[in-house]
C-alpha cells in the first residue's frame, strides 16, 4: 500500500510553467563556439564533498550535459574480507561492522545470521526482538544522516543541522544499551551481548513518541524549499525493470514502484510479528526516493514501538554454552562454565563445514553475508554483498543526458556509503 502521495505542483515563478520548462526555454543556440560540440572529460572526486566519501566519478560532458560517467572506487579498500579469514568467528563481528559504517547493526546481523545458519543455532525470541529494535533505530539513524548530508548537497542547510541532531539522540540510545555510539559489537552469534539496561525502554519510547513530529518538520523543510523540489521532481527517473536488471534493491527500487522488501517478503528475526507498511513511489524520480525514505522512517518508528510493547521475557542470548559465553557469576562455581569460557575466548567455537548466504534488508537494500566454513574456528571466506556496491551501477542510467548539477542530486539520492562499496 502506497504511503507516498504526490503533492500538487509547487507554485512557480511563471504561472503554468515548471522550473524545467523555464530552464529549457532559454535559448543557447547563439553561443556558437569552435569547441561547443566537443566532449569534455571532467574528473569529480575522490575529494569532493558531494561524493560522500572518496568516490571518484569520471564524467564525459557535452557542454553542461552528462553523456557518460565512469565510477572509480577502491580508495578506502581496507581488505576487511581478507582480515576476517584470520580471526575467530566471534572476532569477525567488529570487523564487518566497519564495512557500511552507517548500518553497523545490519552488517553484524547479516554475519551473525550466516554463522547461525551454519551452526543451525536457535536465537531466543527476546534477542530477536532486541535485534529488531536496534536495527530499526539504526535504519532511522542511517536515513537521517542521508537526509542531512543529501539536503546539504542540495543547498538545504537547515535539514543538515536538524537531521544530525535527531540522529545524535539515537546514538545516545545506542550508547546506553550497548556501550558504544557506533560499531557497538552488540549482536553476537546466538543473540545479543547484554540485556537492555533498565530505563532504556522508557527513553526509546520518549524518542519514538516525538519522532514522527520531527519527521514531519524535516519533511516540511524540504517540501517548502522550491529550489530543492525543482532539483528533485521529475529528475533521474529510472524504471523498475532497469533497476532490477542492475541488481538495485532497497528504497531506490521501492521508489520506482516495486514493493520488494525482505522484511515482508521473507521475514527474518521475527519481522512477521509486526504490523508495518512498505512505502512505494509512483514515478521513480529523486523526489519519490526522498518520500519513500521519509515514510520508511515513520514505519520503522512503528516497528520499534511494537517490539517494545511485545518484548518477550527470557534469555537474550542462546543458552548453548558451546557458542555463547557463560554468565560471569557461573565461572566462580562451575568447572564446565570455566572450560567453556576458556575455549571460547582462546580458540573460539568451531563451525561445521558448509556455505551460507544470509540476506537482510539494510537501509540501502539487500545486504547479505556469505560465509564459508571449513570446520576450523576461523571462517574460510566472508563476503558481504553490499547494496551500495551494486546500487552504484544505477548511477549511470540516472544521470545520463542530464545536467551535471543533477549528477550531484543523483549521488545524494543514491546514498552510497563508500565504506560498504570498498570494504
Amino acid at each position: 500500500v502506497s504511503d507516498v502521495t504526490q503533492q500538487g505542483q509547487a507554485p512557480s515563478a511563471i504561472a503554468g510553467m515548471s522550473y524545467r520548462d523555464m530552464e529549457s526555454s532559454i535559448e543557447v543556440a547563439h553561443l556558437e563556439h569552435p569547441e561547443h560540440d566537443e566532449l569534455l572529460t571532467l574528473n569529480l572526486g575522490p575529494h569532493h564533498p558531494a561524493t560522500h566519501g572518496v568516490l571518484r566519478v569520471i564524467t564525459t560532458l557535452e557542454g553542461e550535459v552528462v553523456r557518460d560517467i565512469r565510477p572509480v572506487i577502491g580508495y578506502v579498500h581496507t581488505g576487511i574480507e581478507k582480515n576476517c579469514e584470520d580471526k575467530p568467528y566471534w572476532k569477525v563481528i567488529p570487523l564487518v561492522e566497519r564495512m557500511d559504517y552507517l548500518s553497523y547493526y545490519f552488517n553484524a546481523f547479516a554475519y551473525c545470521g550466516a554463522v547461525e545458519t551454519l551452526l543451525d543455532l536457535e536465537v531466543p525470541k527476546r534477542a530477536q526482538y532486541l535485534r529488531v529494535i536496534h536495527m530499526e533505530l539504526n535504519r532511522i539513524a542511517s536515513h537521517l544522516l542521508w537526509l542531512a548530508t543529501g539536503g546539504l548537497d542540495l543547498g538545504a542547510m537547515s535539514v543538515f543541522w536538524y537531521g544530525w541532531k535527531e540522529r545524535d539522540s539515537i546514538l545516545d540510545l545506542f550508547e546506553m544499551s550497548s556501550g558504544q555510539r557506533m560499531h557497538p559489537r552488540y549482536f553476537q552469534v546466538g543473540g545479543v551481548a547484554e540485556d537492555i539496561p533498565s530505563g532504556w525502554a522508557k527513553k526509546v519510547r520518549e524518542f519514538t513518541a516525538q519522532f514522527p513530529k520531527r519527521v514531519d518538520q524535516l519533511e516540511d523543510l524540504i517540501n517548502s524549499n522550491q529550489i530543492v523540489l525543482s532539483r528533485m521532481r521529475g529528475v533521474g527517473a529510472v524504471d523498475a525493470d532497469s533497476l532490477l536488471e542492475l541488481g538495485v534493491t532497497g528504497p531506490l527500487l521501492r521508489a520506482a514502484g516495486n514493493p520488494w522488501d525482505l522484511r515482508k517478503a521473507a521475514p527474518y528475526s521475527s519481522y512477521e510479528d509486526f504490523q508495518f507498511k512498505i512505502p512505494v513511489g509512483t514515478v521513480g524520480d529523486h523526489y519519490d526516493r526522498f518520500r519513500v525514505r521519509m515514510a520508511e522512517m515513520r514505519e520503522s518508528t512503528k516497528i520499534v514501538e511494537q517490539a517494545l510493547d511485545a518484548l518477550p521475557e527470557g534469555e537474550y542470548i542462546t543458552s548453548n554454552r558451546k557458542y555463547a559465553l557463560p554468565p560471569r557469576h557461573e565461572l566462580a562455581t562451575s568447572m564446565e562454565a570455566l572450560i567453556h569460557h576458556f575455549k571460547l575466548v582462546t580458540e573460539g567455537f568451531r563451525v561445521p563445514p558448509g556455505e551460507a548466504y544470509f540476506p537482510c534488508e539494510s537501509p540501502r537494500g539487500e545486504l547479505a553475508c556469505f560465509v564459508r566454513a571449513d570446520g576450523s574456528s576461523k571462517p574460510a571466506r566472508v563476503h558481504m554483498r553490499d547494496p551500495s556496491f551494486v546500487n552504484l551501477q544505477a548511477l549511470r542510467p540516472m544521470v545520463q543526458d542530464t545536467y551535471i548539477a543533477d549528477l550531484i542530486v543523483a549521488l545524494a539520492m543514491l546514498d552510497p556509503i563508500l565504506g560498504g562499496i570498498d570494504r
Binding site: E245, A265, G354, A368
Partner: protein, 170 residues
C-alpha cells in the same frame, strides 16, 4: 527455497538440456544449490531465468585452496514472485581460471565480476571492461587467494620510509 525434490527436478531439467552440465546438487540448511560445469553457466542461468529466477542477487568468488579445481564462483539467484533462492556454483582450476561472462544478460554482474577478477584472478571471458576494481591498477597478485599472505603491505606514506625523504622541499 526449492526443497530437495524441487532441486532434483531442476537439476534433471538442466541435465536433459545438456547431459554434462550438472556436476552436483546440494540441499544444505534449507538452501538449494547446484554445481554446474563452467562452460554451461550462461545456459544454466538462462534456463533458471525462464523458471522465474529473474534477479541475480549476488555474484561472489571463493577460494577452495588446497582443493582442486580451486576457485569457485557463485551466482545467487532470486525469484521475487515465489520468494525463492537458488545458488549456482562453478569451479575452475588455477591453471585455467576462465569463466564465460554473464554481464550482457545480467548487467548487475559488471562490478561483481570485476571484483572476483580483482580478488581471485578469475578471468571472465567476454566482459567488456575486465580491469581491477578495488585494488590499484598496477597491483600485483590477487589478495583474496588463500595463499596470499596477510599483512606486510608496503604503503607509501612517509612514516614507512627508513628516513625522512624530504621530497616536498625540492
Amino acid at each position: 527455497m526449492p526443497d530437495a525434490t524441487g532441486l532434483e527436478l531442476i537439476a534433471q531439467e538442466l541435465r536433459d538440456r545438456d547431459a554434462d552440465s550438472v556436476l552436483e546438487t546440494l540441499h544444505f540448511r534449507g538452501k538449494a544449490s547446484v554445481t554446474v560445469a563452467p562452460e554451461s553457466i550462461r545456459e544454466t542461468l538462462e534456463h533458471l531465468r525462464g523458471k522465474g529466477f529473474k534477479f541475480l542477487a549476488s555474484l561472489h568468488g571463493v577460494d577452495y585452496f588446497p582443493e582442486e579445481p580451486r576457485f569457485g564462483v557463485q551466482y545467487e539467484l532470486l525469484d521475487m514472485y515465489e520468494v525463492d533462492r537458488i545458488t549456482v556454483k562453478l569451479r575452475v582450476p588455477l591453471a585455467a581460471p576462465t569463466v564465460p561472462t554473464v554481464v550482457d544478460r545480467w548487467p548487475t554482474a559488471d562490478h561483481q565480476e570485476r571484483e572476483v577478477y580483482d580478488m581471485f584472478g578469475v578471468v571472465f571471458e567476454g566482459h567488456p571492461d575486465m580491469r581491477r576494481i578495488l585494488m590499484p591498477e598496477d597491483y600485483e597478485g590477487h589478495p583474496q587467494r588463500r595463499d596470499f599472505p596477510l599483512g606486510g603491505e608496503a604503503i607509501l606514506f612517509t612514516h614507512n620510509e627508513p628516513r625522512n625523504p624530504g621530497w616536498w622541499q625540492q
